[in-house]
């Protein structure tokens, strides 16, 4: 309804926006396109379309091992980050204690600091306590670094929540523990899911911190990294395309569940506090 749209179109701006869009999508398109190219990456235009690289990919055991590793680490990180993040959000929202301001900044620091700094710090810590580097250390690293994501999202969710509901619950005789489980947590449902999805995604693609905490078993990004050092193969295009498709599928799924609902139950489940 704004006058900007009702009065004049802006052709130059529209064109520029389109150019930016193309810039953003160019690598993705090239990536997907060349995963089907027989002659590998490079050259133009791609000819001899083939599914060979995908066939090769599916037979490639180390890649799938690394996918499993990534999934395990990601799942663990979600659990760890959400738990600690929820507590931190509650603490920031409801408690006062000495050093609260410092705590808040400290929690948010890994979000804005380049991963290398957090990664190296954790490495030094691991050396100090003489821990072997492994998926476990990676999991601890991700979980710790991503607490900030959970805290931010859940804190916002808590602020939006009407405190009166908790007061009503206590008034009706529920203990604080019961109130937490029956009222507070369900109200945070959407925030928890959003945070969980984001943490999962960030963990799956995490490189900087993982780089310094990795042991013998690779996560997917690190596995790809190793191969990139050795030489380019379109197999990497293939696995990336697959990841892209799965990710987009997840977004679309999440979007539809959130707005239109896969049936009344799912919608109600998400909406009902």
């Amino acid at each position: 309804m704004s006058s900007a749209t009702s009065f004049r179109r802006a052709p130059l701006l529209t064109f520029y926006a389109a150019v930016v869009f193309i810039f953003i999508y160019l690598p993705v398109i090239v990536l997907i396109l060349y995963s089907f190219n027989r002659d590998g990456v490079g050259g133009f235009p791609p000819h001899h379309l083939t599914l060979d690289w995908y066939r090769l990919l599916f037979a490639d055991a180390p890649i799938w091992d690394s996918v499993v590793n990534s999934l395990i680490v990601a799942a663990g990180s979600v659990a760890l980050s959400l738990t600690l993040g929820l507590l931190a959000a509650l603490a920031l929202d409801r408690a006062t204690f000495p050093g609260k301001a410092l705590f808040r900044r400290l929690v948010l620091l890994p979000l804005i600091l380049p991963g290398i700094i957090t990664g190296l710090s954790l490495l030094m810590f691991a050396v100090l306590v003489r821990t072997q580097l492994s998926l476990f250390t990676v999991f601890l690293g991700h979980g710790t670094a991503l607490i900030s994501v959970a805290t931010t999202e859940l804190f916002a969710g808590l602020q939006k929540m009407d405190r009166v509901q908790e007061e009503a619950s206590l008034d009706l005789g529920a203990t604080p523990w019961q109130t937490f489980w029956r009222i507070t947590l369900p109200n945070l449902k959407l925030s928890l899911i959003a945070a969980g999805l984001l943490i999962f995604t960030l963990s799956m693609d995490e490189i900087a911190v993982t780089f310094f905490l990795i042991g013998r078993d690779n996560t997917l990004p690190l596995e790809i990294w190793g191969r990139l050092r050795r030489g380019i193969t379109p197999e990497i295009n293939a696995v990336s395309t697959l990841i892209f498709v799965v990710s987009v599928g997840l977004i679309v799924f999440w979007y539809r569940v959130r707005t239109r609902g896969l049936g009344a139950d799912a919608q109600e489940l998400l909406e009902r506090p």
Partner: protein, 281 residues
Amino acid sequence: MYSRTYKAIVSVPPLLWVGLFLLLPYLLMFAHSFWAVQDQAIVHQWNVDNYRTLFTKPVYLEVLLRTMRIATSVTLCSLLLGYPLAYYLSFHAGARKELLYQLVIVPLWVSYLVRGYAWKTILGSEGVLNGFLQYMHLTREPVASLLYSPFAVVLVLTHIYTPFVFLPIYAALEHIPRPLVEASQDLGANSAQTFLRIILPLSIPGLLAGATFAFVLSLGDFLAPLLVGGASGTMIANVVQSLFGAAYDWPLGAAISVCILILIVSLLFLTERLEKRWSFK
């Protein structure tokens, strides 16, 4: 309303964890910067040699300056791409706004590494771009200087961070009440004047947030240089990385990291003050 037990339960675990796994490691990094290395081992001898090395040996300063130039370029380019895009979506996209927004977000789901690698395949001598240029008979030989240069690093990092710059700017623009824009036009301002006097000033907090994010993360990036930077595109984080790897000098690496950390924290402090000054209700 909340008992002391409740408050204790919610504050103690995260405090402990963050203290142990975040504060302590950062402090450890800080401590390491004052130690030294002797015969392939770290010696806990307190000294400031590392910092002296940093400020006297020109190579480190040189790389740091190059890194800052790259980070600045990335920030500027990301803003030049991200702001108009956000403006277009917020004020000109109409019904398709939501869809376009999702479309901007979607490439973020493709791994950083993979997107960087894709640019490598595009920019290389045998790459897609050169192939395209030769196919269209615009060049006869491959252009070698596209890859393995600071230009390539800036390109890749801009590509990565433009969506991240877009997000807070878009949010800020969406927050501007449309009646303000109408009021400005009602009072006689054309779109350029309305943008400069009303929309831009009110979007500054978002702009600062996005710019800070892009700058800070570009500053500490080591992957893009490894992928597409080559020798001339090395950044300060690569130096740190090698000091923790083959060049084995953890204390020096720690010192550089501490410098980067201080630089970043000061910048964050500055932008936070600026953001407060420019936010109006």
